[in-house]
């Protein structure tokens, strides 16, 4: 009995849980790395030829001597297993290879550009949450004109494509009203329009999910209990109902951040912002494979990190969940 109790405690210790999560995170990143490697191998066309084209900028057939030199330089003449081993080793040392076009380390290029993209995605997530929570607090379970209007607006935002919203916002607020700059650069004012363009769609989506749950929870007996203690309607909404209603939204946040990161790439192009977007678009069209696979790896790592944060948040909001 003592033994099984000890096992039970060990299995529930937050550190054990954390270690497990880290381990499974490493597995996910490793799988992404392997996937990126295999993609490079099965990609149509000779890799050496692609590199020569990317470097010289014109399309032509290289001589066999040129190809052999490239093959030797990048180790393409070695067996696949050896190539794979070296690839993984390099990644472990933080070396994601060198861009075919820019002749600079991929890690450096991504590190330079990822900051603005992450800032854009994370602020958009915050905006989306704030908008969704505020509207829900005021309209859920209410039956007046404002509630209907705001609800319809949410549905509209949830279904409108973000790049279209981005263009509208740009024309209205930057070109016509001149409130915000057309090309933002990295100033805080320049962040607002792109963030809104990304956040509005998600806020509509979150809003609908949270509002659904909110309306359901408003009818629960414990809400009546709280009212019977003398709590005001707004107090009940803020202190009791919101917490329950936020749960499904929190679960969706991991997925949402992934969506925001890829959405950010488009928005960056529309607003001509600095960020991973421009780099990735250029790399994909010129088949600069190391940059693309480096981006795949980094996003896998980000995704692991974000889902860890989401799980921790969920646990704080819903203490019934045990770490398992």
């Amino acid at each position: 009995m003592m033994g099984s109790d000890a096992v039970k405690i060990a299995a529930h210790h937050p550190i054990v849980w954390f270690a497990r999560r880290i381990f499974s995170g490493v597995v996910v990143v490793w799988a992404a790395a392997t996937f990126a490697f295999l993609i490079q191998c099965v990609l149509p066309g000779d890799r050496a030829q692609i590199i020569i084209n990317a470097t010289s900028g014109n399309v032509g057939v290289a001589s066999s001597a040129e190809l052999a030199a490239i093959n030797a330089k990048y180790g393409f003449d070695q067996p696949l297993a050896v190539q794979y081993g070296k690839y993984i080793l390099r990644i472990l040392h933080g070396d994601f290879g060198e861009s075919y076009q820019q002749h600079r380390p991929v890690a450096g290029i991504i590190a330079e550009q990822i900051g603005p993209t992450i800032i854009l995605a994370v602020t958009a997530l915050l905006f989306a949450w704030i908008i969704a929570v505020l509207t829900t607090l005021f309209i859920a379970g209410r039956d007046n004109m404002w509630a209907k209007l705001l609800n319809d607006t949410q549905v509209f935002f949830a279904t409108a494509p973000p790049y279209w919203l981005a263009t509208i916002l740009l024309v209205v607020f930057a070109v016509k009203l001149r409130i915000f700059p057309v090309i933002g650069g990295s100033s805080p004012a320049g962040l607002i329009l792109p963030t809104l363009a990304l956040a509005l769609e998600l806020s509509g989506f979150f809003g609908q999910v949270v509002q659904n749950e909110f309306t359901r929870v408003l009818e629960q007996p414990f809400v009546t209990s709280a009212r019977a203690r003398g709590m005001s309607d707004f107090g009940v909404r803020l202190r009791h109902v919101l917490r329950h209603a936020a749960l499904p939204g929190i679960s969706l946040s991991g997925w949402a951040l992934g969506k925001l990161l890829s959405g950010a790439i488009l928005i960056e192009v529309v607003f001509a912002r600095q960020g991973l977007g421009g780099v990735l678009v250029a790399a994909t069209s010129s088949r600069d494979v190391p940059i693309v696979s480096g981006a795949v790896l980094v996003s896998a790592g980000l995704f692991v990190l974000v889902s860890l944060i989401v799980d921790l948040t969920y646990r704080v909001v819903d203490p019934r969940i045990r770490l398992t």
């Binding site: 096992v7 209990s225 709280a226 009212r227 203690r229 003398g230 309607d233 045990r322």
Partner: protein, 574 residues
Amino acid sequence: MSQGRLQPVPQQPDLLTVDSLRVSFGRATDEKAVVRSISFSLRPGRCLAIVGESGSGKSVTARALIGLAGRYANVHARQLSFDGTSLMGLSDRAWRRIRGNEIGFVLQDALVSLDPLRRIGKEIGEGLLLHGAVSSRKELAQRVIALLKLVGVPDPETKAKQLPHQLSGGQRQRALIASALALDPRILIADEPTTALDVTAQAHVLSLLEETKTRGKALILISHDLAVVSRVADEILVMREGEVVERGNAGQIFKDPEHPYTKQLLDAVPSGRPRGSRLSPSAIVRVPARQTQPEVQSPPKSRPILLEATSLVKRFKGPDGTLRTAVDGVSFELRSGETLGIVGESGSGKSTMARMVLALEEPDEGAVQFAGRPWTALAERERRARRRSLSTIYQDPLGSFDPRWTVGRIISDSLSSDVETRRKRQERVIELLDLVGLSQALLDRRPLELSGGQRQRVAIARAIAPNPAVIVCDEPVSALDVSIQAQVLDLLGYLKDRVGLSYLFISHDLSVVRHISDRVIVMRRGRIVDSGATEEIFRNPESEYTKSLIAAVPRLVRDHQIGRSATILEEGIA
């Protein structure tokens, strides 16, 4: 009725006065009155019980008293006043000062009536904070602990830090009552405070309410269960379809009910009637009275054994990876034509055992034999052909019906494939409906269009459709109002003789089991603690546990002085 008014002149003025309260929902054209003209008054230290079945308007009445009847409710009254001030047309702010502070409110089932994401202590302290009754965090913590002690929750320091689901049902309900008592309100309204509880937990909560009354609080107790009410109430209002059909002093109503509906409610309480006798008036069910009563007593040993379970063991892996033994070496036999009652509180393993008998769960050890042949030891493919001989009736028929199917299809689906032609199947379905006392007009209805009682009858018709030998009844009447429960119990008794059935009857309700069973097994923590002929067990229980269970059963206290002595040991609930 008039006697109630002629009682000694009240020393204290009325705390709450309700005159001609009317609550309706909806607007002018499709307005539906849920409560029509109810009047009463309440003094400190007295308990008023409002009794009625679902839909009688008792809960709406209670909520109207604290201004929470709902957004769409229209509340009217000639007078509705608390301590001399009128509650009609009160502003939201004024209502909030009264709620919790002057009138405490306790709802049914604390698992959903306490916020499941908040710690018990925080929930209890909420009222204190809202009304500014404490000046510091330290004082708040002390008050919360004191309240938990007051309602008798053991180890209050730990419990205050726990979440509602970590407490037992009884402790949870008491914590909920503590949260309502936090500001020492002068009136406590409890809406079905014991309905979701086991008998022992129920007894604890009732003593707590009684204590509260003794401390000089005025109590309004709302329940569908007359037996529960009989222990605490001084005055009783019997409600039906929004109207008060009878009112008066408690002792008088139990001894000498005037209105036929009150009589019907009293008769429907199984513990109040001789075992096996009819509970419902014959006007409602077309069930002939059983002519031969004492047949139950004949030695059943001569009858063949239908089901035989030997040393059943079932373990489950808990969420933390440890094994929990749900059923621990249970053996029993069910003979032909017999009803074997299985009683236990929630978590005693009775439902797991039923699932093993039905071969829905494989026992870890032991086996069940059915009609003298192996049953659980077989592969499902070999069992399938014989599954028809073993039927079930569940607590919630709605959950076991496809909501889109009609009654006709539900029953027809369970008929044996031997009934070949469409016409014959249809005839058989009508025959079955007739047998359970339902009109064939219901054939094309869907489950949601039926009343609770009709649904359970359809479930019974479905269960007997394949001509089973045994029916496993898992809490078949627990979700029903007393009068409907009475009808269903009568129907089951009738069908047993008429069709020749044997029942494995599982329930947490001792009165129901006592009423219907020939033999009884009492389960606790996966083991059998008592077994034997029903009357023997109830008159002369062997184990302390069975004794405490029986002592905890709320009885109709027809003489109002008896029955206040039921004290139960705390260890009964873990």
